[in-house]
Amino acid sequence: MPGVLWLTVFFLIPYIIIIIYSFLTSGIYGGVELPFTLEAYSKMLVNAGYWQILWRTVWISIIATSICVGLGLPAAYFIATSKHRNIFLTLVIIPFWTNFLVRIFGWMVILGRNGLINSFLQLLGLKEPLSFMYTPGAVILVIVYMYLPYMILPLYSAIEKFDFRLIEAAMDLGAKRAQAIWKVLIPSIRGGIGAGVILVFIPALGSYAIPDLVGGADGAMLGNLIARQLTVARNWPSSSAISMIFLLISTLGLLVYLRINKVQNKRRVQVSEIYMKEEEG
């Protein structure tokens, strides 16, 4: 299939380049030279600060992703079950056709010291403006904002094809609606949830424009470190090495997602088998 050819050429090769680079020593001014060495990895792994950044990046991403699920699931449910679903869907996407940076700036205008929220609060009598910006909270907020549609879209796709007669069946069997939704719908759309999580969590892990602009002096995330090692420190192997660790985490997440999918497919087959037996019997 031509798809395979394309993919091989464009994905595999750059991927390999990165892997190889991480094992080389750094040239003085960037670029890479022999000999092969594990120096990049060893320097990084023994450094406590590195683990701190990793940890910060991971927990910020987890919180942001969870918020996305929490907001995205009900929203996707509402949209998928409504008559005007196409309109809603388009409305969700449209803000994202403004530019990424412009959207961040929009938030800076709202959250800034002289921004919308503070101006409003000062009207109500607040004396000193509150600082929302340059905090982990601001970073999480903006990450959620940026990636929410990437959660909503796959969820919508999954819910839309869900057979609601299963809910009906469950309610006929005595479950309350909330129960039915929780126990029947959610497990069925596990694949969609997984896709959404992947599409949010991983970019969140790698974000660097967001912490750069709205994060504080101590708010650097992994993406910032990778970028910095590449450009300022001109240490390509180090940058690649850090990325490898990042890739490992992401791959783990990916494998979990794939696993869930397999399990879920089996489960669905079982459920529909049971249902059909009910119908017959």
């Binding site: 600082s131 340059y134 602009l213 994060g215 002096a217 420190a233 001109r234």
Partner: protein, 337 residues
Amino acid sequence: MKRATIFLFLVLLAVLSLGKGNLILYGWSDYIPEEVIENFSKEYDVKVTYDTYDSNETMFAKLKAGARGYDLAMPSADYTSIMIKENMLLKIDRSKIDNLINIDPDIIEQMYYDPNNEYSIPYMVGTTGIAVNTLYLQDYPKSWEIFQMPELRGKMTLLDDMREVFGAALKYLGYSVNTTDEAQLKEAKNLILEWKKNIAKFDNELFAKGVISGEFWVVHGYGENIFYEATEEELENIDFFIPREGSTMWIDSFVILKGARNIDNAHLFINYILRPEVSAKISDYLLLPSPNVPARELMEEEPVYTAQEMENTELIKDLGRDLRLYNDLWNEIRFGL
């Protein structure tokens, strides 16, 4: 089918740009006034494309990775030095740049890495300083000390630039901005960690807007950015100064890149920039002192600071492998590593 369309489109583009001569510039955003480029373009019948980058580092990373097609770039002194060492530049034919005599010889003296201008021609010289929004703050020392004031916590920014911030700290402590003495660097690092407690963030992009809008009261940055952003009214509330302990100096130069295709046009352009009237226009636009001696008479605006005021500034030099020292300390400061 799509590929054919794209191909056709590219061919069309290529065809459209034939006929006129070409010149591809790679420089800082808004660093060369549009008017100057347009006038050059008309006079020599050359189509100029001006691509931009936001930092020496990204420019270098891209060129080092092999990007081709750019004729001229505008690196700062330390990167010019690196690019020379890394063989990324073509030699300049000085017979084509007769306007070079207009450049202040004091500046050329500073260019230790290229004393005979074989590879680089200076475009602008400047320094970094501090800007204060006087609407919010009226009583402050004109010194790097300002970053130690706890009353200003959360209302200041430092540049997200290792050499600049270290330069500031080292100057305050009375050392050279290019020192490789580990004890001195450690002292500087500790000082910066103190400063870090008081700043809202490290910032390279938004300090100008920030100080004008009052988002920040004190910022570390480049005067020309601030003056470009602010209106006349707003400028009355901004005080930009070079701290009394001194500061860093930078020199941005034109270099011709290996792989340049329009070498003659590149020379024409450089020589054009060095004309006094053109240089004066540029300096008026950027509000910076001109490196071009005859241009100084022709300037209409007052620069943000004069060459005299820059006495206490020191050029940032490339440090080769010793940069690791700074890097490790900066990583500690910036990332807690």
